[in-house]
Amino acid sequence: MKLNRYQINFIEKKLDRLNVDYLDIKSELTDHIACDIERLMKKEELDFEKASYLVFQNWNEEFVFSKNIFTGYMNSFPKIVLKKILQSAKRLQLFSIICFVVTFLISNFLNNDTKKYLLSGMFLVKSALLIFFLISLICFCILKYRKKKTTFLILFNQSMIGYIMLPFLLLFTIEIGLFFLISYISFMSLINFIYSMRLFYLHNQFILKTSY
């Protein structure tokens, strides 16, 4: 017995209430839960209400709100959503550590003359970072306007926090003593920009795939 449109709508609404309203996860959970309900209705000859109650009970543990250091303790998400976000968030944290070590080694390796020479071209870095920020801001506004939620969007919004150090770079005079810090912020801003553009692409690609 296949579920009708209203029964599918019931599952979707229930997932929304449980805060699993991110399209990429919600669509596959709706299908999984619907398949499980159909199986129970057929095998155990249960009605939809009873079968859906039992199936959702089985999923309870995955809907519990959880937090993690990688996504920030300010935000909590249903466990199944958090697991997906973490896979990507952990990768960015790893890049951040690698970037820190590489920048530290480079800044210790270079002599002061080379550092001065590199800092003289700082206006180019500043311009590039400003362009990155503006592109990200435009993407942010587009996503806000479209109002479609996916887990990629959560990560994209979080990546915008990465630009918090941008005013520091743009407004203050860059001195040689700050070479390591400036290089680290610049590299991280570049990584953050590439990461956020990938998320923007993945978000739009998924929306495109599901636009029926």
Partner: protein, 120 residues
């Protein structure tokens, strides 16, 4: 109710957890493309109910493989809802061969250690 409780019985061993990705990849290699629920049911069917992949383990594994570009996703509208099909990418197909060889080697070595008489 009994059927649902019964389906919760699962092999929660670390040995199975470590092989979950390889199991998924092997199934996709055999079946072309599959959706989440289908994978859990297929595993249950093959192992005659001995092995039950829980949803909490299946989806993170699928999402991880997808993020690593080993799986590709196709979305279709089926029975009033969207269905997300997973299939192996070219990179995923090559990786499946490697992982299966690795798993076979592991089983062979374990066999030698656990039951030397039966080993070959």
């Amino acid at each position: 109710m009994f059927a649902l409780q019964n389906s919760r019985i699962m092999k929660n061993s670390q040995l199975y957890k470590g092989s979950l990705n390889t199991i998924i990849m092997k199934l996709l290699e055999e079946n072309g493309r599959m959706y989440g629920y289908e994978i859990t049911q297929r595993v249950k069917e093959i192992t005659k109910g001995e092995l039950n992949i829980t949803e909490g383990a299946l989806y993170p594994a699928l999402h991880k493989l997808e993020a690593e570009d080993l799986l590709d996703v196709e979305v279709e509208k089926v029975d009033n809802r969207l269905r997300k099909y997973y299939k192996l990418t070219e990179k995923g197909t090559t990786e499946t061969v490697n992982r299966l060889a690795e798993l076979e080697e592991f089983i062979k070595n374990m066999q030698t250690i656990v039951n030397p008489k039966l080993s070959y």
